[in-house]
Symmetry: C2
Subunit: 302 residues, 2 copies
């Protein structure tokens, strides 16, 4: 079965401390969170690199979710490693270590069978690599890009070149303000829409997320989780829910994006209830749809 | 015609500087913003005090909106005066002067004809005075209270006593976090719901506003104003829209509150498009309802 969506991003082993506990060298990385979440919606192919220390158990986890691994490479060396901790309020993470390892020389190669995938998600990697992926794919229906403050600071011309080539950009609020050099959300997203993308999606953590085009805007509130365990991967899971729904439904109308945003909030909230990708060990589509309906009920007005 | 709602709060003359201009001794005050906005929905009585410098023109403005002034007192001395300025991004105001003047010895006296009003809004005044109002009214259907960091810091026991006696509390996000002694929104509003009110309404400026009870939560996004002129009074106008709709419709169900929140966002966004209360010089119900429908369309998902 050919893949309907591809994701290019990191594969990681994360050491995480939160007020709820600690995990050493747990499965992580933007492409892993994204593809696992998106696998609940559609057939997704993962393009990324891991080292020899990446265990068969992790690969089996991805395979069991139906993630296509033709674009996955395993090379000599160690897997990308991130170590971080969250304060008592689960606020911003403090990074203790970022060891790029095999990810440092990652140069995405898109398998032939992935090149016609209609949906492409460029997770947070160097914008030059994001452009390299765009040059390899053949007229996808929708390309979305995620990025971070590190590239806004360190690779702005490349990021701006990449933004001209994508349909949707995912940012968090701080990144959006920084990219637009503004202090307010609405003028900031208007400036970003001038940079190329037809749509921005701005994540605001526990508050919710906004999507806007030149003509529309929509806000989805965050689901009020009772038992937050580990915020790692929330943003990539949000994107996985959004893009997963779009790829599954093929509905890229305004209303399609609104439903997709609710699925984004759904999956973000499910991810943070467990450490690493634990929430996806036994999650059913039915549980997902229940959460979707709860968030839907938080915005419904008659 | 008897009043359907009363508001107790400040009447002020404000000197305001924003990136769009400057106004000296302009009409302001929480009870003025609230009653003017609420007058578009229902018959509202204003309880407040002004000095001899409060001009007949301002009284005429209120009367022309149908605001009942039986609870309005004019006494020897000067009207409460606030002077402040907003930075280039219309962020938090810097206060240059707060002269309480006649407001310092304000002790609200509720006219007989107001005592059976079913809706009561206690704008931001000392919580002891808020309690004094509650003691004078006769079993209203709904009492709502607004407050500010000044009382959270300086009159916390009185504020907590007042919270036990009201149905709804309005706060901004910083105030909610401060009152709950928390750093995150969801645990914060859960703690505030334990303090007495059945519902919290948390205003988040350009992002939007949240309302929550023990069993529900709902978020309304802010309308993305293109021409922000003066943020003064946005919160009181939001409350005026919320309470105005509730008082007009009598619909205090969850769905009624959701519609009310959209009217809150509507009126907040209309207020900030003009200096002082200028937006209400010519506003029609039809223009209001158009804005309501625009915000409604920002949250509608099929």
């Amino acid at each position: 079965m050919s893949v309907n969506m591809i994701v290019v991003g990191s594969i990681a082993l994360d050491t995480i401390a939160t007020p709820k506990g600690k995990r050493e060298m747990a499965l992580g990385g933007s492409a892993v969170y994204f593809s696992t979440v998106a696998s609940y919606f559609t057939r997704v192919g993962l393009v990324g690199v891991a080292g020899k220390d990446f265990s068969e158990e992790h690969l089996q986890f991805l395979r069991s979710h139906g993630v296509d691994l033709e674009g996955f490479e395993q090379v000599d060396g160690k897997t990308f490693h991130w170590a971080g901790s969250y304060s008592d309020d689960f606020g911003d993470a403090t990074t203790h270590a970022t060891n790029l390892n095999v990810f440092e020389s990652f140069s995405p190669k898109i398998p032939e069978s992935y090149k016609k995938a209609p949906y492409v998600f460029l997770a947070n990697i160097h914008p030059s690599l994001q452009i390299k992926v765009i040059e390899q794919v053949e007229k996808p229906k929708l390309i979305a890009l995620d990025t971070m403050n590190f590239w806004i600071n360190g690779a702005l011309p490349e990021l701006k070149a990449a933004l001209k080539k994508v349909d949707v950009v995912f940012l968090n609020k701080q990144e959006a303000l920084q990219l637009a050099e503004d202090t307010k959300l609405v003028p900031a997203y208007r400036k970003i829409l001038e940079m190329g993308p037809k749509r921005v999606i701005i994540k605001m953590g526990e508050i919710g997320a906004l999507t806007a085009t030149k003509d529309s805007s929509f806000f989805v509130p965050s689901y009020p989780c009772k038992d937050l365990a580990d915020p790692t991967g929330a943003g990539d899971s949000f994107a996985g829910g959004v893009m997963g729904y779009l790829a599954q439904s093929g509905n890229v109308t305004e209303n399609g994006f609104r439903r997709a945003m609710i699925y984004g909030a759904t999956m973000g909230s499910i991810t943070v209830e467990g450490f690493s990708l634990d929430s996806y060990k036994e999650l059913t589509r039915n549980e997902m749809d229940q959460r979707y309906r709860k968030i839907f009920s938080m915005i419904k007005v008659d």
